[in-house]
Symmetry: C2
Subunit: 129 residues, 2 copies
Protein backbone atom coordinates (compact mmCIF):
# COMPACT_ATOMS: atom_id res chain seq x y z
CA UNK A 1 0.00 0.00 0.00
CA UNK A 2 1.42 3.33 -1.03
CA UNK A 3 2.20 6.02 1.49
CA UNK A 4 0.00 9.08 1.43
CA UNK A 5 0.93 12.63 2.25
CA UNK A 6 -0.27 12.29 5.81
CA UNK A 7 1.68 9.07 6.30
CA UNK A 8 4.84 10.80 5.16
CA UNK A 9 4.18 13.60 7.61
CA UNK A 10 3.86 11.15 10.48
CA UNK A 11 7.10 9.41 9.55
CA UNK A 12 8.93 12.70 9.22
CA UNK A 13 7.73 13.90 12.59
CA UNK A 14 8.84 10.70 14.28
CA UNK A 15 12.25 11.19 12.70
CA UNK A 16 12.57 14.78 13.81
CA UNK A 17 11.33 14.09 17.31
CA UNK A 18 13.64 11.14 17.76
CA UNK A 19 16.63 13.33 16.95
CA UNK A 20 15.35 15.93 19.34
CA UNK A 21 14.43 13.77 22.27
CA UNK A 22 15.37 10.14 21.67
CA UNK A 23 12.22 8.29 22.57
CA UNK A 24 9.07 9.30 20.75
CA UNK A 25 5.57 8.66 22.04
CA UNK A 26 2.28 9.04 20.21
CA UNK A 27 1.40 12.09 22.23
CA UNK A 28 4.57 13.83 21.06
CA UNK A 29 3.65 13.23 17.46
CA UNK A 30 0.14 14.50 18.09
CA UNK A 31 1.43 17.74 19.59
CA UNK A 32 4.03 18.20 16.90
CA UNK A 33 1.55 17.79 14.08
CA UNK A 34 -1.38 19.43 15.80
CA UNK A 35 -3.74 16.47 15.57
CA UNK A 36 -5.47 14.44 18.25
CA UNK A 37 -3.89 11.40 19.83
CA UNK A 38 -6.68 9.27 18.41
CA UNK A 39 -5.56 10.26 14.92
CA UNK A 40 -2.00 9.30 15.72
CA UNK A 41 -3.13 6.01 17.16
CA UNK A 42 -5.00 5.13 14.01
CA UNK A 43 -2.22 6.30 11.72
CA UNK A 44 0.41 4.34 13.65
CA UNK A 45 -1.63 1.16 13.31
CA UNK A 46 -1.68 1.57 9.55
CA UNK A 47 1.99 2.49 9.33
CA UNK A 48 2.92 -0.47 11.50
CA UNK A 49 0.92 -2.90 9.42
CA UNK A 50 2.75 -1.64 6.37
CA UNK A 51 6.15 -1.99 7.99
CA UNK A 52 7.07 1.65 8.40
CA UNK A 53 7.11 1.81 12.18
CA UNK A 54 7.22 -0.48 15.17
CA UNK A 55 5.35 0.22 18.35
CA UNK A 56 6.65 -0.69 21.75
CA UNK A 57 4.56 -0.39 24.88
CA UNK A 58 5.20 3.30 25.20
CA UNK A 59 7.10 4.41 22.18
CA UNK A 60 7.14 4.36 18.41
CA UNK A 61 10.18 4.02 16.23
CA UNK A 62 10.90 3.88 12.54
CA UNK A 63 11.85 0.69 10.76
CA UNK A 64 14.59 0.73 8.15
CA UNK A 65 11.92 1.27 5.56
CA UNK A 66 10.25 4.07 7.48
CA UNK A 67 13.55 5.75 8.18
CA UNK A 68 14.36 5.93 4.51
CA UNK A 69 11.12 7.74 3.76
CA UNK A 70 11.45 10.00 6.79
CA UNK A 71 14.95 11.08 5.92
CA UNK A 72 13.95 11.85 2.39
CA UNK A 73 11.02 13.94 3.55
CA UNK A 74 13.14 15.81 6.01
CA UNK A 75 15.74 16.51 3.37
CA UNK A 76 13.09 17.97 1.11
CA UNK A 77 11.59 19.90 3.94
CA UNK A 78 14.95 21.52 4.60
CA UNK A 79 15.42 22.24 0.94
CA UNK A 80 12.12 23.98 0.42
CA UNK A 81 12.17 25.84 3.70
CA UNK A 82 15.65 27.09 2.94
CA UNK A 83 14.61 28.13 -0.53
CA UNK A 84 11.62 30.07 0.73
CA UNK A 85 13.59 31.71 3.50
CA UNK A 86 16.20 32.81 1.01
CA UNK A 87 13.38 34.30 -1.02
CA UNK A 88 12.42 36.38 1.99
CA UNK A 89 9.60 34.30 3.45
CA UNK A 90 9.46 34.23 7.24
CA UNK A 91 10.72 31.11 8.94
CA UNK A 92 7.30 30.26 10.26
CA UNK A 93 5.48 30.56 6.96
CA UNK A 94 8.31 28.84 5.09
CA UNK A 95 8.06 25.90 7.43
CA UNK A 96 4.30 25.60 7.03
CA UNK A 97 4.33 25.87 3.28
CA UNK A 98 7.45 23.76 2.79
CA UNK A 99 5.56 21.01 4.60
CA UNK A 100 3.26 20.73 1.65
CA UNK A 101 5.77 21.18 -1.14
CA UNK A 102 7.84 18.28 0.07
CA UNK A 103 5.18 15.82 -1.03
CA UNK A 104 4.71 17.02 -4.57
CA UNK A 105 7.75 15.71 -6.41
CA UNK A 106 9.10 12.33 -7.37
CA UNK A 107 12.57 11.48 -6.16
CA UNK A 108 13.94 12.01 -9.62
CA UNK A 109 12.38 15.42 -10.13
CA UNK A 110 13.46 16.57 -6.72
CA UNK A 111 17.07 15.65 -7.41
CA UNK A 112 17.00 17.47 -10.71
CA UNK A 113 15.52 20.55 -9.15
CA UNK A 114 18.03 20.52 -6.36
CA UNK A 115 20.90 20.07 -8.79
CA UNK A 116 19.74 23.01 -10.86
CA UNK A 117 19.21 25.31 -7.91
CA UNK A 118 22.48 24.21 -6.40
CA UNK A 119 21.37 24.02 -2.80
CA UNK A 120 23.20 20.93 -1.72
CA UNK A 121 22.14 20.91 1.89
CA UNK A 122 24.54 23.59 3.07
CA UNK A 123 21.70 25.74 4.29
CA UNK A 124 19.58 23.12 5.98
CA UNK A 125 17.37 24.34 8.76
CA UNK A 126 18.48 23.45 12.25
CA UNK A 127 17.12 20.44 14.04
CA UNK A 128 15.04 22.68 16.23
CA UNK A 129 12.56 23.31 13.47
Amino acid sequence: MALRESGEDYLESIYVLSKRQGIVRSIDVAEYLGVTKASVSKAMATLESNGYVEMGKRDVHLTERGLEVARQMWERHCFFVGLLEDAGVSAEVASQEGCHMEHCLSEESFEKLRAMLGRDGASAPTMTD
Copy 2:
Protein backbone atom coordinates in the same frame (compact mmCIF):
# COMPACT_ATOMS: atom_id res chain seq x y z
CA MET B 1 -15.90 28.56 2.57
CA ALA B 2 -12.28 28.28 1.57
CA LEU B 3 -11.28 26.78 -1.73
CA ARG B 4 -9.58 23.41 -1.64
CA GLU B 5 -6.98 22.05 -3.96
CA SER B 6 -9.55 20.27 -6.07
CA GLY B 7 -11.68 23.40 -6.36
CA GLU B 8 -8.69 25.33 -7.61
CA ASP B 9 -8.03 22.64 -10.17
CA TYR B 10 -11.57 22.89 -11.48
CA LEU B 11 -11.34 26.66 -11.79
CA GLU B 12 -8.01 26.46 -13.54
CA SER B 13 -9.28 23.93 -16.03
CA ILE B 14 -12.30 26.07 -16.87
CA TYR B 15 -9.93 28.95 -17.47
CA VAL B 16 -7.64 26.99 -19.74
CA LEU B 17 -10.48 25.41 -21.66
CA SER B 18 -12.24 28.72 -22.18
CA LYS B 19 -9.12 30.15 -23.78
CA ARG B 20 -8.81 27.09 -25.92
CA GLN B 21 -12.38 26.72 -27.05
CA GLY B 22 -14.55 29.57 -25.84
CA ILE B 23 -17.53 27.80 -24.35
CA VAL B 24 -16.82 25.24 -21.67
CA ARG B 25 -19.17 22.42 -20.73
CA SER B 26 -18.97 20.12 -17.74
CA ILE B 27 -18.01 17.23 -19.94
CA ASP B 28 -14.97 19.13 -21.20
CA VAL B 29 -13.80 19.72 -17.67
CA ALA B 30 -14.34 16.06 -16.85
CA GLU B 31 -12.21 14.94 -19.78
CA TYR B 32 -9.52 17.51 -19.09
CA LEU B 33 -9.16 16.51 -15.47
CA GLY B 34 -9.79 12.81 -15.95
CA VAL B 35 -12.74 12.59 -13.59
CA THR B 36 -16.35 11.57 -14.19
CA LYS B 37 -19.03 14.01 -15.18
CA ALA B 38 -20.79 13.26 -11.91
CA SER B 39 -17.77 14.58 -10.03
CA VAL B 40 -17.77 17.73 -12.11
CA SER B 41 -21.47 18.22 -11.55
CA LYS B 42 -21.03 18.02 -7.81
CA ALA B 43 -18.00 20.30 -7.81
CA MET B 44 -19.71 22.91 -10.00
CA ALA B 45 -22.66 23.06 -7.62
CA THR B 46 -20.34 23.84 -4.75
CA LEU B 47 -18.29 26.33 -6.72
CA GLU B 48 -21.44 28.06 -7.90
CA SER B 49 -22.89 28.32 -4.43
CA ASN B 50 -19.65 29.96 -3.34
CA GLY B 51 -19.66 32.41 -6.21
CA TYR B 52 -16.75 31.10 -8.22
CA VAL B 53 -18.65 30.00 -11.31
CA GLU B 54 -21.99 30.50 -12.98
CA MET B 55 -23.78 27.76 -14.82
CA GLY B 56 -25.87 28.39 -17.88
CA LYS B 57 -28.05 25.73 -19.42
CA ARG B 58 -25.18 24.17 -21.26
CA ASP B 59 -22.03 25.89 -20.16
CA VAL B 60 -20.03 26.95 -17.16
CA HIS B 61 -18.10 30.17 -16.83
CA LEU B 62 -15.98 31.82 -14.20
CA THR B 63 -17.18 34.78 -12.18
CA GLU B 64 -14.84 37.66 -11.48
CA ARG B 65 -13.91 35.95 -8.28
CA GLY B 66 -13.33 32.59 -9.91
CA LEU B 67 -11.32 34.14 -12.69
CA GLU B 68 -8.94 35.71 -10.26
CA VAL B 69 -8.19 32.37 -8.63
CA ALA B 70 -7.97 30.57 -11.95
CA ARG B 71 -5.51 33.03 -13.42
CA GLN B 72 -3.36 32.83 -10.35
CA MET B 73 -3.32 29.03 -10.47
CA TRP B 74 -2.47 29.00 -14.13
CA GLU B 75 0.34 31.45 -13.58
CA ARG B 76 1.78 29.23 -10.90
CA HIS B 77 1.30 26.19 -13.00
CA CYS B 78 3.33 27.76 -15.76
CA PHE B 79 5.98 28.83 -13.32
CA PHE B 80 6.50 25.45 -11.72
CA VAL B 81 6.26 23.49 -14.94
CA GLY B 82 8.82 25.78 -16.54
CA LEU B 83 11.09 25.47 -13.55
CA LEU B 84 10.93 21.69 -13.58
CA GLU B 85 11.45 21.49 -17.32
CA ASP B 86 14.50 23.70 -17.03
CA ALA B 87 15.76 21.32 -14.39
CA GLY B 88 15.52 18.51 -16.92
CA VAL B 89 12.18 16.98 -15.99
CA SER B 90 10.10 15.76 -18.92
CA ALA B 91 7.19 17.92 -19.99
CA GLU B 92 4.69 15.28 -19.00
CA VAL B 93 6.04 14.70 -15.52
CA ALA B 94 6.61 18.42 -14.98
CA SER B 95 3.00 19.10 -15.80
CA GLN B 96 1.72 16.43 -13.44
CA GLU B 97 3.89 17.45 -10.56
CA GLY B 98 3.55 21.17 -11.13
CA CYS B 99 -0.19 20.63 -10.76
CA HIS B 100 0.35 19.86 -7.12
CA MET B 101 3.01 22.43 -6.33
CA GLU B 102 0.81 25.26 -7.48
CA HIS B 103 -1.46 24.80 -4.47
CA CYS B 104 1.19 24.90 -1.77
CA LEU B 105 2.12 28.55 -1.48
CA SER B 106 0.44 31.72 -0.38
CA GLU B 107 0.29 34.54 -2.88
CA GLU B 108 2.97 36.38 -1.00
CA SER B 109 5.40 33.50 -0.83
CA PHE B 110 4.90 32.68 -4.46
CA GLU B 111 5.72 36.22 -5.51
CA LYS B 112 8.86 36.21 -3.41
CA LEU B 113 9.96 32.91 -4.82
CA ARG B 114 9.33 34.04 -8.35
CA ALA B 115 11.18 37.26 -7.77
CA MET B 116 14.19 35.42 -6.43
CA LEU B 117 14.28 32.87 -9.21
CA GLY B 118 13.72 35.56 -11.79
CA ARG B 119 11.31 33.71 -14.00
CA ASP B 120 8.94 36.51 -14.83
CA GLY B 121 6.68 34.64 -17.18
CA ALA B 122 9.00 34.73 -20.17
CA SER B 123 9.08 30.97 -20.34
CA ALA B 124 5.45 30.23 -19.75
CA PRO B 125 4.14 27.01 -21.23
CA THR B 126 1.95 27.39 -24.28
CA MET B 127 -1.79 27.41 -24.04
CA THR B 128 -1.91 23.92 -25.45
CA ASP B 129 -0.81 22.39 -22.20
